[in-house]
Symmetry: C2
Subunit: 119 residues, 2 copies
């Protein structure tokens, strides 16, 4: 199977590779990691402070997945101790631009969402 | 606490109600349920056929959460047997408009994402 198969994905089909991308991107912490990196590169500790409630383990796991999907780049500076920074790749920036609309909707329409919520 | 607190949410703060909305909306199946309903109302069985791989239990649970958040409306027609249909509310339509961009990005850029993926 060619690496670029298929030409256009179908997330409704569980066998399509786009489904696993969607699962990764919408995993519990990925949206927040991507949004946090949208304002610029960050070190692990700064990311963890920014994303209230994430554990070290979950943050590391989320970063690994986003890195292997090509959305996040990890750079190690040859200092002592080595400094590791994370940033969005071009592909990750494009993806995050889409997520920004979602986050803006949820945060700005929150009063309305709260009012519509049933106890 | 007023039902419309706060005026604007902060998803990075785990105590903000917008965080739980984000968690619900980006749960494993919610994105696909919202996208499926974007083309019009559907019955439970049609939704399940559309979303390949979802179990009856997970679909029911996802619909309940989206309904109680005010994004999905459930209508029961007084027929024998009763017909239950699901549709997006106005708020749900607004939310789904944001998700559509995300899904379009993932499906149209899939070849690039596949190429960037590391084994």
């Amino acid at each position: 199977m060619d690496a670029t198969w298929p030409p256009r994905g179908d997330v409704f089909d569980s066998r399509c590779p786009s489904r696993s991308v969607l699962d990764h991107v919408t995993s519990k912490w990925a949206v927040l990691v991507l949004a946090a990196l949208d304002t610029g590169e960050l070190r692990f500790s700064a990311l963890r402070r920014r994303i209230d409630g994430v554990s070290e383990k979950m943050l590391a796991q989320t970063l690994r997945t986003l890195e292997s999907d090509g959305f996040v780049a990890r750079e190690v500076a040859p200092t002592t101790p080595p400094q590791v920074t994370y940033s969005l790749t071009d592909l990750g920036s494009g993806l995050t631009a889409q997520l920004t609309g979602l986050l803006d909707f949820i945060t700005t329409r929150l009063p309305e969402i709260q009012a519509a919520r049933r106890p």
